[in-house]
């Protein structure tokens, strides 16, 4: 360890504390009830599939568990010939689970 790295080093314990608080808030909610995020994802895709055929390989799902809100991002690629206007991609964003069980 040289002098520079001694000065550069940030305290890691507060980071650990914050990560745990956010993670456990979600895990405690998930153990009691159902997995809300998984349900939301399925239902949102079902709604879209009612109108256009959705290729499951072209669906990107991103979840960001945060505090105070989580975001569920469902990115569905639609065939361009079905679209009348706009870009060929539709980004559907819904708010994820925050209920504490």
């Amino acid at each position: 360890m040289n002098l520079l790295s001694l000065f550069r080093r940030r305290d890691s314990a507060p980071v650990a504390r914050e990560r745990l608080q956010v993670l456990l808030a979600h895990e405690r909610a998930a153990v009691g009830g159902s997995d809300l995020v998984a349900i939301l994802q399925e239902e949102i895709l079902a709604v879209i599939a009612r109108h256009v055929s959705v290729d499951r390989d072209k669906v990107q799902i991103k979840l960001d568990r945060g505090d105070p809100i989580s975001t569920l991002e469902i990115d569905v690629e639609l065939p361009s010939r079905l679209r009348t206007t706009g870009t060929p991609r539709v980004g559907g964003a819904g708010q994820g689970a925050m209920a504490r069980g």
């Binding site: 305290d11 890691s12 314990a13 507060p14 650990a16 504390r17 745990l20 456990l24 895990e27 405690r28």
Partner: protein
């Protein structure tokens, strides 16, 4: 009335077995009649930490399955006559434990001892759930480290749902035992502080066991640390924890290592 205590953590390697041995011995040193029970079927180690590995004939599985009487499987400690060990089987697996069998053995142990300390295996599978199943209280062993705290949180959830007490709608008393704690690193912001862990897990603190060479030395010797080095910092911390387990209301202190002059000068650098 007998007290059944489960020593559990979820994560492995945090100090369950060491703590089971030390708490059991400290209770016995205080005059209570104690049995420590190894539930880690297939990976038994409590016998080794207690220094009784060469005296195991029958084990928990033999008693559960009715192949041996409880009295035949119990090993009395050579140093403390009011301390006994019920070892786990090294050759069988956890499926050999049945709920009804464990219930019968625990009931029988309640007749013979004041304290029954159950050393849970790591994980959340059958062995761990059976170890906690009939407990009256739990000691949750945790290190000030993210994965250990997360696993402890999960175990707390199981204690509140999968135990006999929980199913009867009773409260399961839970105590946090923070082990391998390095106060110097916590003060420098390199390790979660006691208050951080307490705030996240929100269960009362039973004790803080400092990281210490005396613990390894004790298991090398096959003796609980409260017997191997009774005046060491971890031994004093376990002795204090036991007082709290018995219901005494005393302030939690962090017993410090007693270092010599050179130890004080160079000790910090050595652990960094």
């Amino acid at each position: 009335m007998a007290q059944v205590v489960v020593v559990t953590s979820g994560k492995g390697g945090v100090g369950k077995t060491t703590s089971t041995a030390a708490l059991g011995a400290a209770l016995a040193q205080g005059g209570e009649s104690v049995v420590v029970v190894d539930f880690d079927v297939g990976l038994r180690n409590l016998d080794l930490v207690m220094g009784a590995e060469r005296r195991v004939v029958f084990d928990l599985i033999n008693v559960v399955q009715g192949d041996a009487k409880l009295a035949q499987a119990l090993i009395r400690d050579k140093r403390l006559e009011n301390l006994s060990l019920l070892p786990a089987s090294q050759t069988r697996d956890k499926d050999a434990l049945t709920d009804a069998g464990v219930e019968r053995v625990v009931a029988e142990l309640r007749e013979k001892f004041d304290w029954i300390i159950c050393d849970s295996p790591a994980g959340i599978e059958r062995g761990a759930t059976l170890a906690m199943r009939h407990a009256d209280m739990a000691v949750v062993v945790t290190n000030a480290e993210v994965s250990s705290v997360r696993d402890s949180d999960r175990i707390i959830g199981l204690l509140d749902s999968k135990t006999e007490r929980a199913e009867k709608g009773l409260r399961m008393p839970k105590h946090l035992l923070l082990t391998r704690y390095d106060a110097a690193r916590a003060a420098r912001g390199e390790m979660l502080k006691v208050e951080d862990v307490l705030e996240i897990l929100s269960i009362p603190l039973l004790g803080i066991i400092p990281e210490s060479q005396d613990v390894l030395r004790a298991s090398n010797l096959g003796a609980p640390v409260t017997l191997a080095s009774p005046t060491s910092a971890p031994a004093r911390a376990y002795a204090e924890a036991v007082k709290r387990l018995r219901g005494e209301q005393i302030q939690v202190s962090l017993p410090a290592e007693q270092r010599g002059f050179f130890g004080k000068l160079f000790g910090r650098r050595a652990v960094a």
